[in-house]
């Protein structure tokens, strides 16, 4: 019976990874599509390929943070992890329906924390891990914004005397393919690892892995496959919000935004910090817009995004807490 529970929760975790794919991975390709560097179909294939390839580049530090640094490992039972996942997936689906680019990562952290707290109280929260995650909830979009702005200013400074604009644009369009690939790599590296973390927690809770075990290879491959497939399914409502509603992008801006966001994600993944790819790319796009003037940024949309960010952790935690109590009642 417990084995069936483990299989079900792992399947649900991979399902979450898939929804993360079509929800968050749209960010990888929004700027490429909005600047018409790639058609939507080729853009998703490009992004999905690099989402999958990320397992060759990054270690599993982020997975370990999710599995061991959000709540006390002793409280993580199959039921708690199940409720946490339901909270995250439920919240993702609500915001997907509303077309809001919220964070699947924070939904997951909120879901697991909410489910654990509803079972055993706030003492099960791991302060150090949550402080690290909380710090980068604020810092990741700000780093993305600063890098997006800096790269745009540098490019403008280097090329401002160059008169062959068409040739220059062609170069930036090609450059955007590389920056989109780098961003997709960073996205796969950070987001797929959150699912790996959940599966690792399930394996530890069920006794299939020891408390200090590393993530098994089959988990790594399964998580990257799921997020890649999710990306292939696309998330066009969010692509539209990210790619054109925040600020209008040219190929040079798209390249700067993706490069800034990719650098942020590479740093976060190598440091074991689960960050939101949505926050990061949104910050970078705002940075590109702010290099022209602040009125180039549509603050109404950006503000709506900020509200969705603020609501994600409590929203997912609430759904997870309710689910946790239902699971317990049937339990």
């Amino acid at each position: 019976m417990e084995t069936l529970g483990v299989v079900l929760v792992i399947a649900l975790a991979l399902g979450f990874d898939y929804t993360n794919g079509f929800h968050d991975a749209a960010n990888s390709i929004a700027t490429v599509v909005s600047t018409r560097v790639l058609s939507p179909r080729w853009a998703v294939i490009w992004a999905a390929g690099f989402n999958f390839a990320a397992f060759l580049v990054f270690k599993t530090h982020v997975a370990n943070t999710i599995a061991k640094d959000v709540v006390d490992q002793d409280i993580l039972t199959i039921g708690v992890i199940f409720a946490g996942l339901v909270g995250a997936i439920g919240w993702n689906l609500i915001t997907f329906y509303l077309g809001l680019p919220t964070s699947s990562s924070h939904a997951l952290v909120g879901g697991i924390a909410g489910a654990a707290v509803s079972r055993s109280g706030t003492h099960v929260l791991v302060s150090e891990g949550l402080r690290k995650i909380g710090m980068f909830i604020v810092l990741s979009p700000l780093i993305g914004l600063a890098l997006g702005l800096t790269i745009t200013v540098l490019i403008q400074w280097v090329f401002h005397r160059y008169r062959r604009v068409e040739r220059l644009n062609k170069g930036f369009r090609r450059g955007q393919l590389i920056s989109a690939a780098a961003f997709s790599l960073g996205h796969g590296g950070n987001d797929a690892q959150k699912t790996m973390g959940v599966i690792l927690a399930v394996l530890i809770a069920s006794g299939h892995a020891t408390a200090n075990a590393d993530v098994p290879l089959w988990v790594v491959l399964a998580a990257h496959s799921a997020i890649g497939l999710g990306t292939l399914s696309g998330g066009w409502r969010i692509v539209k919000t990210m790619g054109s509603k925040i600020t209008r992008l040219q190929p040079v801006g798209g390249m700067a935004a993706e490069t800034g966001a990719a650098v942020t994600l590479f740093y976060a993944s190598s440091s074991g910090i689960p960050v939101s790819t949505t926050h990061t790319i949104t910050g970078a796009i705002v940075g590109v817009g702010a290099s022209r003037r602040l009125s180039a940024v549509r603050w109404g949309v950006a503000g709506r995004v900020v509200w969705a960010w603020l609501l994600t952790i409590p929203g997912a935690a609430l759904v997870a807490a309710i689910t946790s109590q239902i699971v317990r009642a049937f339990g």
């Binding site: 402080r131 604020v138 810092l139 600063a146 702010a290």
Partner: protein, 57 residues
């Protein structure tokens, strides 16, 4: 007042506010990003001021 300078200054304040509450290991990240935003706020302020002066001339 230049709105962009105010925005960058606010971002710098947000970074510095994280230093006492964040993990010690990552405090340098908040400090560096905060300083970058302060520099951007200063540059943006000077840029706006020189533009408004040249317009008056």
């Amino acid at each position: 007042m230049d709105r962009r300078a105010v925005f960058f200054f606010g971002a710098a304040l947000a970074c510095f506010a994280l230093i006492p509450v964040g993990l010690e290991k990552y405090q340098h990240v908040a400090e560096i990003v905060g300083v970058v935003y302060l520099v951007y706020a200063l540059l943006s302020f000077l840029d706006a001021r020189s533009r408004s002066r040249s317009r008056k001339r």
